[in-house]
C-alpha cells in the first residue's frame, strides 16, 4: 500500500491486514494506521474470528468413514496403476539397454555379424512375468489369490473378524469400482 497513511481513506488492504493478524512485519506507517483506524481494526477483528473458526473446523473430521474408505480404495487403485506404468517405462529402458549391450557384444566378438538382429525376445520375454509380479504385489488385498479384488476378499476379512470395518469397506469399494474393473 503506497497511499498516505494519514489519509483516512487509505486503509490497509487484505494482505496487509492478514500480515498484521499473523504478526508479520509491516511498514511502520501501516502499523500506525491500523492503530488508530476503526475500520481497519474492525476488519482485523473479523480476520481473527475467521482464522479461529478455520482452526476449529480443521480439528473436526469433515469426511465420513465410508468416504475415507472409498477414497482409500480409489487411491490404492490409482497408485497401482501408476506403479505399473512406471514399471513399464523402466522395463522398456532396461530392455533397450540390454539389447544395446548384447548388440555391442556381438559386434565386438564378430564384426561380420553386424547385420544380425539382436535377440530382443530375450528382454521382452521376461517383461510380462515381471509385470504380473508387480500386479500381484499391488493386489495386497487379494486374499483368495484369484488375481483380482472381489467381494469375496471383503467377505473373507469379515468372516475372520480381524479387520476393521473401514478396511472391509475399502476392499468392497475396490471390488465394485468401475475404474478398477474396466
Amino acid at each position: 500500500m503506497t497511499a498516505d497513511r494519514r489519509d483516512p481513506q487509505a486503509h490497509l488492504d487484505l494482505l496487509e491486514l492478514d500480515a498484521l493478524r499473523a504478526g508479520e512485519p509491516l511498514p511502520a506507517a501501516a502499523t500506525a494506521h491500523a492503530a488508530w483506524c476503526a475500520d481497519c481494526a474492525s476488519e482485523l477483528d473479523a480476520l481473527h474470528d475467521l482464522a479461529s473458526a478455520l482452526r476449529g473446523a480443521e480439528a473436526t473430521p469433515i469426511a465420513a468413514a465410508h468416504l475415507d474408505a472409498r477414497v482409500h480404495a480409489l487411491a490404492a487403485t490409482h497408485a497401482a496403476r501408476v506403479r505399473r506404468s512406471r514399471w513399464r517405462a523402466g522395463s522398456t529402458a532396461a530392455a533397450a539397454a540390454a539389447v544395446a549391450v548384447f548388440a555391442m557384444a556381438v559386434l565386438w566378438r564378430d564384426p561380420l555379424r553386424r547385420a544380425a538382429a539382436p535377440p530382443a525376445e530375450v528382454a521382452s520375454a521376461s517383461a510380462p512375468r515381471a509385470e504380473l509380479a508387480m500386479r500381484d504385489a499391488a493386489l495386497a488385498d487379494d486374499l483368495d489369490g484369484d488375481g483380482r479384488i472381489t467381494v469375496l476378499d471383503a467377505f473373507a476379512l469379515a468372516r475372520a473378524g480381524a479387520a476393521d470395518p473401514p478396511r472391509i469397506d475399502a476392499v468392497v469399494a475396490m471390488a465394485v469400482s468401475l475404474q478398477a474393473n474396466p
Binding site: 483368495d144 472381489t150 467381494v151 469375496l152 471383503a154 467377505f155 473373507a156 469379515a158 468372516r159 468392497v172 469399494a173 471390488a175 465394485v176 469400482s177 468401475l178 475404474q179 474393473n181
Partner: protein, 145 residues
C-alpha cells in the same frame, strides 16, 4: 402461392412434432435382480449389470431377506449404463432359493424397452467357498413421466 407453401410447412411440422417428442419421453422402471444359487446358501455375491444405450441407472435399492440392505456399488455408475453390485452377509439366514438381492431404478427413453444384461462375477457360501449361481433381471412395469 406463398401462403400455400407456408401452410404446407406448418402442416408438415404438426405431423412430425409428435414423432419428434416421443423420443424425448422418458420413463422410470424398477429392474429386480434375482440370484439363484441352486439350493446352496448364498452369503456373498458380485454381479455386473449393463444396460442398453436407452437406459440409465438412477438408483439402487436393497433386496429381500439377508440382502435387504442396498448392495455396494460405485456411485460413478449412476447416470450410466453399467454397474457392479456386491454384498455379503455374515449372519444366519443366507438364502438357499432364488432371491431378490437388489432392485435397480432405471430411466429409459425411446419406444422400445432397452436391453439389460447381467453376469455373476462371484458367489460364495457362508464358509467362503465359491458356489455357482445364476442371475436374472426382471423389469417391472415402467412409470411414464
Amino acid at each position: 402461392m406463398t401462403r400455400r407453401v407456408l401452410a404446407c410447412i406448418v402442416a408438415l411440422g404438426a405431423l412430425l412434432a409428435p414423432g419428434a417428442t416421443r423420443a424425448d419421453v422418458s420413463r422410470f422402471r424398477p429392474v429386480d435382480v434375482w440370484l439363484d444359487s441352486g439350493g446352496q446358501p448364498l452369503a456373498a455375491y458380485q454381479v455386473e449389470i449393463t444396460a442398453g444405450p436407452d437406459a440409465a441407472i438412477v438408483g439402487v435399492e436393497g433386496g429381500a431377506g439377508a440382502f435387504a440392505e442396498p448392495p455396494h456399488y460405485d456411485p460413478a455408475a449412476l447416470r450410466g449404463g453399467r454397474i457392479i453390485l456386491a454384498a455379503f452377509t455374515t449372519t444366519a439366514g443366507a438364502p438357499q432359493r432364488r432371491t431378490r438381492v437388489a432392485t435397480l431404478h432405471m430411466r429409459e427413453s425411446g419406444d422400445a424397452q432397452p436391453s439389460y444384461r447381467a453376469v455373476v462375477m462371484v458367489a460364495a457360501a457362508p464358509d467362503g467357498r465359491r458356489i455357482p449361481a445364476s442371475v436374472e433381471l426382471v423389469p417391472r412395469q415402467g412409470d411414464p413421466r
